[in-house]
Symmetry: C2
Subunit: 237 residues, 2 copies
DNA sequence: GCGCACTACGTACGCTGTACGTAACTAGGA
DNA sequence: TCCTAGTTACGTACAGCGTACGTAGTGCGC
């Protein structure tokens, strides 16, 4: 009858027991595998995370990995949850939910700067691993002080996380994009700016021209981040 | 020496002339190629969009496509801009920027429902093709009535688009995810809900439990969309 | 202690993006 | 007008991917 119990019904990886009843003791833990994948992605980008490469990193045959991770997508879920373990929560929320959520968003941004592939996995993956659940529980604890329906609180968390993901994703896009390209992010940006300048000079887009003309000088990304986030949070007050 | 002028310096696809001075007249237009890729993605998902498949769709050899599209990523830029041409702008903005931006967001959402792969391309692609520039120009025209700095207007557009992308991306995630899976989105959702229920029952996440318990009954996605969007827009008033 | 579910892993298939070489073609400069 | 350089077209080939499948070997539950 062949192979292990790879089911044809949808499975959530977190629902699988790490250790099955029968058979030899698994040689690696889920955390080992996740950590290996994260290490590879941090070092060489998300594209470098292949089943073969991860298997080699933890030191087993390629197909053995499928005993732990039935599909590649599940590996992504493991990775997201793994770095979710890097959040540091204070013993108790401060009581000021706005400040607490802002601090959490700063942690998220820092996390994404440490793991630049993370924004790219936030959309396709929407798993609820243990770390993610822990994070969500803490968020809701912070929001105990907010007088709103449960649904609204979830909306708040989702909105803030969406905004942070989008923002940091854009922040990192050029750099991540250029990772496997033969040119630097600066060259890339220069080429795009040159094209945009030429296009704007045609006069077909006067307002775009005006908007980008005024936009000279370096932007303080931290300030912009706080301002946008502040607006979003205020909208829930 | 060989091959055509594939440069090692970064190039923006839009900066390439469709017709080069020398050589035979190109057999296909950029729009032909973009339309073919969009057709494939609509029919069989984004993963089905391969250089081979697109080439076959327009009826040329695989490698001929590289004369038009130097990298696969550029194909994605073409696709995004192509569907950007589906926006329908009124002759003049109404004068109520809030209403206009809301209407635009509704168009974006409809666009993404028509082309479910679009949210997945919004983060990696940040090109400024002709249709996108046209869209941006119209956005800024709507915001003529808003008393704010140019930078703030760009922030508004970016924030709204980010929110819409995130929201619709989540809306479509399950369906798109299940496209190449052997089970239905309903089965997938059921499996995830079952796992989540089991996890919540452990009592380790009381607030998550409470939030999801209260969340019974079907959600009106349109209403949630409008409410979240309204909040974001209000935050710029 | 038997049997079966599990782990481990090699091989193989069909697919991907794309480097490169070659042949046909055409517009610009002489 | 002809020449030639740059372009289009396209087949071949390579390295890599996810993963189906078959085959051993291992150790828990009955």
């Amino acid at each position: 009858m062949a192979v292990g119990g790879r089911s044809a019904t949808p499975e959530v990886i977190w629902a699988r027991p790490e250790r099955a009843g029968r058979g030899p003791r698994p040689a690696y833990s889920r955390a080992d595998i996740a950590a290996a994948a994260v290490r590879i992605a941090d070092a060489d980008g998300l594209d470098a995370v292949s089943m073969r490469r991860v298997a080699a990193e933890i030191g087993c045959g390629t197909m053995s990995l499928y005993n732990y991770v039935p599909r590649k997508e599940d590996l992504y879920e493991l990775m997201v949850d793994e770095v979710g373990g890097e959040y540091e929560f204070p013993e108790h929320p401060s009581g000021d939910w706005r400040a607490d959520m802002l601090a959490l968003a700063h942690q998220t941004r820092a996390l994404m700067h440490r793991h630049p592939w993370l924004p790219g996995l936030m959309s396709p993956v929407y798993g609820f691993g243990p770390h993610v659940l822990r994070y969500l529980e803490y968020c809701l604890t912070c929001l105990d002080g907010l007088d709103a329906a449960q649904g609204t609180k979830l909306e708040l968390v989702a909105t803030v996380n969406g905004m942070v993901t989008t923002y940091v994703g854009n922040e990192l896009a050029t750099a991540e994009r250029a990772r496997s390209m033969p040119w630097s992010p600066e060259q890339e940006n220069a080429a795009r700016a040159a094209y945009l300048g030429r296009e704007i000079a045609t006069g077909k887009y006067p307002r775009v021209a005006q908007a980008f003309a005024q936009d000279s000088g370096p932007v303080d990304m931290d300030a912009v981040f706080d301002r946008m986030l502040g607006r979003v949070l205020d909208s829930f007050t």
